[in-house]
């Protein structure tokens, strides 16, 4: 079993209290379930709330399309507005771009979540690339290959409601971003 050190920056949403340990466990499970990098392979599994989770290994543009489609479809099923669905797809695009740039391949895990009042979508992007030495910096404005236009990881942090990076140099990166449905 791999061990990860979690350096967390979390925009804490007080209403979202799903267990961090459980999430960590899920991340690991996912790593073991699909470390393949073949195009088009999607794994769907039924989560604890009887809802379907999707895991898309990403190594090509086709995979990106698949991940975006799955994300948008899940948003639609959960009753998100089209605009929110677009933001989820955007987050998937930016997270995948990040994987392509730094690790070449990885995977996107999309899962529906809920707490007592709301439902939402969590997108987990993980790779086994070189990792990020300073995750705090990576989520800040200015740290970007696009000259500080607010795209990339900082952009994802802003269009989603919760955002979290854990990474360790040499051991890959996992970015978790959640979007809640507007009440």
């Amino acid at each position: 079993m791999r061990r990860y050190h979690y350096i967390r920056i979390r925009r804490i949403d007080t209403e979202a209290r799903y267990s961090r340990d459980e999430q960590t466990k899920r991340d690991r499970t996912c790593f073991s379930c699909c470390e393949m990098r073949s195009s088009g392979a999607i794994m769907k599994s039924v989560g604890s709330n009887n809802e379907q989770e999707v895991c898309v290994p990403v190594a090509s543009d086709n995979d990106l399309m698949t991940a975006r489609r799955e994300g948008r479809e899940m948003a639609r099923q959960l009753g998100f507005s089209a605009c929110e669905g677009t933001l989820v797809a955007t987050a998937i695009s930016e997270l995948t771009r990040n994987i392509f740039t730094y690790a070449r391949h990885g995977k996107i895990h999309i899962r529906p979540i809920s707490n007592s009042t709301r439902r939402g979508i969590t997108v987990v992007a993980s790779d086994l690339g070189p990792g990020i030495a300073d995750t705090r910096l990576a989520a800040q404005a200015g740290y970007s290959t696009c000259g500080g236009r607010g795209l990339g990881l900082p952009g994802v942090r802003r269009i989603m409601d919760e955002f979290d990076i854990s990474s360790r140099p040499g051991r890959g990166t996992t970015v978790t971003a959640t979007k809640w449905k507007r009440p």
Binding site: D61, T66, A82, A89, T90, C146, L151, G155
Partner: protein, 329 residues
């Protein structure tokens, strides 16, 4: 319909290859080629409504943004595509709906960028508040503690002098005189840094007070005109005070102005402030380095409050700085 055919490579290399082509296109023949690409991908989306087209549209818009395409410019490209659609008589309700879905997808990078700018402005506003607080603290300490200390030195000097014969006393009086000068200097500095008059009486009286001081100190003619209406939000008052202070500084120190006019104008929705000097001005396209920092400071204060800044200047013809800050936002 004769749309340019697009070839899309697969994989990370293809991904970046595509970005590179779009970038080169946007740089060279923008915005015509950008419009052509947009049109081609839009048609692809209208024909197949596939996620791939949405993703391409997104990447196209993202690259356009990186290449400094504005959101209005991009909207114009979309309108151009709509005009083409209606010219080709394929603009039924469903097509138009799909086209606007596609357009929304392309606006997503701009949305991200917009949120980034908003966050930046918030951070800047916060930073200004922190700096202002710090300045206040220093000014207060200077005023209270150094002032207290100087007062005790005064008493000690007077005390020491009183025991001396009148001949020697003269020298101590000189020292006392110098101490008074230091005291006045410190008090002035402290008032300029932390203008209590701004808190107590508002912007216009504070500007008048500042103008008087600066006029006396630098020997220039400074006039203040404006309506002293209701009090403005504290952040706006402080920002405008600092902007005028900086502009006055520039006018005297760099532009060698002989007279400066300050005007303040309040409406229910905005406050306008202009500082106009008759100094030597400069080439607006190449602001001198020494002045650069002051101007950047002014610009940042204005943009943190969502306002606008206009700089009118040319060599030998004076400088006018106009700011407009929205109220109640």
């Amino acid at each position: 319909m004769n749309a340019p055919t697009l070839e899309w490579a697969v994989g990370p290399d293809g991904f970046h290859g595509e970005c590179a082509t779009v970038s080169a296109v946007a740089m060279k023949d923008a915005p015509d080629m950008l419009a052509e690409r947009y049109w081609a991908i839009l048609q692809e989306y209208l024909a197949y409504s596939s996620e791939a087209s949405l993703s391409r549209g997104y990447e196209l818009a993202r690259q356009a943004l990186v290449d400094d395409c504005g959101v209005l410019e991009f909207a114009e490209i979309h309108h151009g595509a709509l005009r083409r659609l209606s010219a080709e008589a394929c603009s039924d309700g469903r097509t138009l709906g799909a086209a606007s879905d596609f357009f929304a997808e392309c606006l997503s990078p701009f949305e991200m960028s917009h949120r980034g700018a908003q966050e930046g402005a918030r951070a800047l506003r916060h930073l200004n508040e922190v700096l202002e607080g710090e300045l206040r603290r220093i000014a207060q300490t200077l005023h209270d503690e150094a002032g207290q200390l100087l007062a005790s030195v005064h008493i000690a000097v007077a005390d020491a002098a009183s025991d001396l014969p009148p001949k020697e006393r003269g020298r101590f009086e000189k020292v006392a005189g110098m101490l008074t000068e230091v005291e006045t200097g410190l008090r002035n500095l402290s008032h300029e840094w932390h203008p209590t008059i701004l808190d107590d009486l508002g912007l216009l009286p504070a500007l008048e007070f500042l103008a008087q001081k600066v006029a006396k100190r630098a020997g220039v003619d400074v006039s203040v005109r404006g309506d002293s209406g209701a009090r403005l939000p504290a952040a706006v008052e402080t920002a405008l005070y600092r902007i005028v202070q900086e502009a006055l500084n520039n006018a005297i120190r760099h532009a060698a102005a002989r007279s400066v006019r300050i005007e303040l104008q309040c409406t229910p929705y905005t406050v306008k402030c202009s500082v106009c000097d008759d100094g030597r001005g400069f080439d607006a396209n190449r602001p001198p380095h020494t002045q650069g920092l002051g101007l950047i400071g002014i610009r940042e204060r204005v943009s943190a409050l969502g306002g606008s800044l206009r700089l009118v200047t040319e060599p030998l013809n004076g400088t006018t700085i106009q700011t407009e800050i929205p109220l109640g936002g």
